[in-house]
């Protein structure tokens, strides 16, 4: 395992389709045994990046190393990868056993070795009873399990997942999510997982790479991405319901930074500014709905009275749509404490939990 435990290394990778550049000199190192999630909206290049790693798309520039070997121009089969696709991509006319063994047969592996590997994989995924069925006789969840098996049976170092759960319904999705996590804990292989679903990303990842138009915006542990997004784009993309954004400006009164908007004023004494420190200027103040307390009676650095406009019960939680100054504010409260429409409630929050972004660049302050 050369290269200091780096499993997949992407260096300066670019991909253009004609004049459109899909990946822009991207760098990424993925550690051995790491579960890395590529997260972003459709069209951000995450699937393209995965296809490049798999060797299914030719790159325009840059290099891809897997296990310390430069595989930039190698065939997919020679890269030591297995891949799981969104549409399962099972060979329809072959049985499950045929699907699992196709790659091994193609590689010219001995029959008894193939049988051994298929049996082992079927055991890991608990699909032995399905081995002689055709894909059309399987449910969606079973199909995806077989598709995972097809990657597993190749006994490779790196697994690539291309939105593997997107075609499943919500319940199956969460089941298989847990299963993939369990699989990762058991096998400890490197896994690269593409999704647009932030829940999948948060729950599965060791690290998340949030992508936007061919570039990685932030590469961090899920909790860091959630609580300290590097820019407004990441803050907006992660979290549901989304972060509240309040437009205003940072002012320095007597050296103490404050956020001023619509005649209101938030003290920023608790806020952790980055290296540059507090500077006056136009900014966006972001606070997540669950960080706003309602009628708590506690003493918050900032509190105000706001009207309740819409109430959305969601079971355990209730979303309250309100207005702070002239700007929309969503608050998540536990359902027992939900206010009624038309009431005025007192809210409070601590700017320590908030994020401040530069109004022009969107970068975190």
């Amino acid at each position: 395992m050369g290269n200091d435990g780096v499993s997949v290394s992407i260096r300066n990778l670019s991909l253009n389709f004609g004049a459109v550049s899909v990946l822009k000199s991207l760098d990424l190192d993925i550690q051995d045994g790491e579960f890395l999630v590529l997260l972003g909206p459709s069209g951000c290049g995450k699937s393209t990046l995965l296809n490049c790693i798999a060797g299914l798309m030719d790159v325009t520039d840059g290099q891809i190393h897997i296990k310390g070997r430069n595989v930039t121009w190698e065939e997919p089969k020679d890269r030591g990868i297995g891949m799981v696709f969104q549409s399962y991509a099972l060979y329809p006319q072959m049985s499950v056993r045929g699907n699992l063994s196709f790659g091994l047969k193609t590689a010219g592996m001995a029959k008894d070795e193939i049988a051994k590997r298929v049996a082992r994989t079927a055991d890991v995924l608990q699909i032995e009873p399905l081995l002689d069925r055709k894909p059309s006789q399987l449910s969606g969840g079973q199909r995806q399990r077989v598709a995972i098996g097809r990657a597993l049976v190749r006994d490779v170092d790196v697994f690539l997942f291309d939105e593997p759960l997107s075609n499943l319904d919500a319940k199956l999705r969460s089941e298989l999510r847990v299963e993939i996590k369990r699989l990762h804990q058991k096998l400890a292989n490197t896994m690269i997982y593409v999704t647009h679903d932030q829940i999948e990303a948060m729950t599965l990842a060791d690290r998340i790479a949030v992508m936007r138009s061919g570039q990685i915006q932030q590469l961090d542990a899920p909790q860091t991405i959630y609580s300290r997004p590097v820019n407004r784009y990441v803050a907006d993309f992660i979290g549901s319901p989304g972060m509240n954004f309040i437009e205003g400006e940072v002012v320095l009164s007597d050296g103490a930074p404050r956020f001023r908007f619509d005649g209101l004023d938030i003290p920023l004494a608790n806020y952790q500014f980055d290296k540059a420190g507090a500077q006056a200027g136009q900014a966006t103040f972001g606070i997540r709905p669950e960080h706003v307390a309602v009628n708590s009676g506690d003493d918050w650095p900032f509190s105000a009275s706001v009207p309740v406009e819409i109430v959305e019960p969601m079971g355990s939680d209730t979303l309250v749509w309100s207005r702070l100054g002239k700007q929309a504010l969503t608050i998540r409260v536990s359902s027992e404490r939900a206010p009624r429409v038309g009431e005025n409630v007192t809210i409070g929050f601590d700017p320590m939990n908030a994020s401040l972004f530069d109004a022009a660049s969107g970068d975190r302050l």
Partner: protein, 301 residues
Amino acid sequence: MNTTEDTTRRPSQLFRNLNAKVASIPMIMTALLVFLGGTVWTIVYSFTNSKLLPRLKFVGLDQYERLWSASRWWTSIENLLVYGVLSLIFSLVIGFLLAALLDQKIRFEGLFRTIFLYPFALSFVVTGLTWQWILNPDFGVQHIVRSLGWESFVFNPLYDQRIVIYGILIAGLWQGTGLVMCLMLAGLRGIDEDIWKAARVDGIPTWKTYLFIVIPMMRPVFITTLVIIASGIVRLYDLVVAQTSGGPGGASEVPAKYVYDYMFLAQNLGQGFAASTMMLLSVAIIVVPWAYLEFGGKKRG
């Protein structure tokens, strides 16, 4: 960042994807040698005075002047125009009406469709010979009407120079309308069911829905059908040969037959090349605007 430790060599561009290129050789040969090369060849030789064998002796526009002064060519063009325009109109109208009738959730739809479409499976030769028999004045329709008591009844299109092309049209429509019906039916079925529901809720009469909503929505289907029929019409040959052999007295000649006769019977290749080039020109006039509209602005995703 760019380390130049190339562990693998980039495969040569020419041999990448080699199998796909080998598999495409027949297509490349056909496209370049036959379709492109053959067309250019014929156009070039249409300016020569080739007789029995192609010769590269250029005579300018002589062949075309001769072509356009030949009364047989004019008859051919006239016939093709009459046949073409009428068969376009009739097959589109009849085809659409039949499709609309079949689209009424009727019983035995499959049976009716099978009956309307079976002539399309038959060759033009078979079609032509069959209708030659039905339109035979001594035994066919005319004979029967007369034997019913209407002694002066006259309907012998295949022996009347003025109307012989309509006799061929009857056979052509019988053979080809099923195809149009099928295409139209596919188009009708492609229309969102909700459109019909909305029209029904709004209380719009069926015929109005067809006329103002459905037909405009089927524009692409109509255009495609039009192109298919039109490119078939230009090729009209077998039907005429089988039904009338161009007669009576050359009254049912068509361009395709003109080309064949001059190339292979009259041993006047140059004349045949000129005539076929004119056919190409007429097709281009139909197809190029369509292709431009259909594919011009579109790009692959």
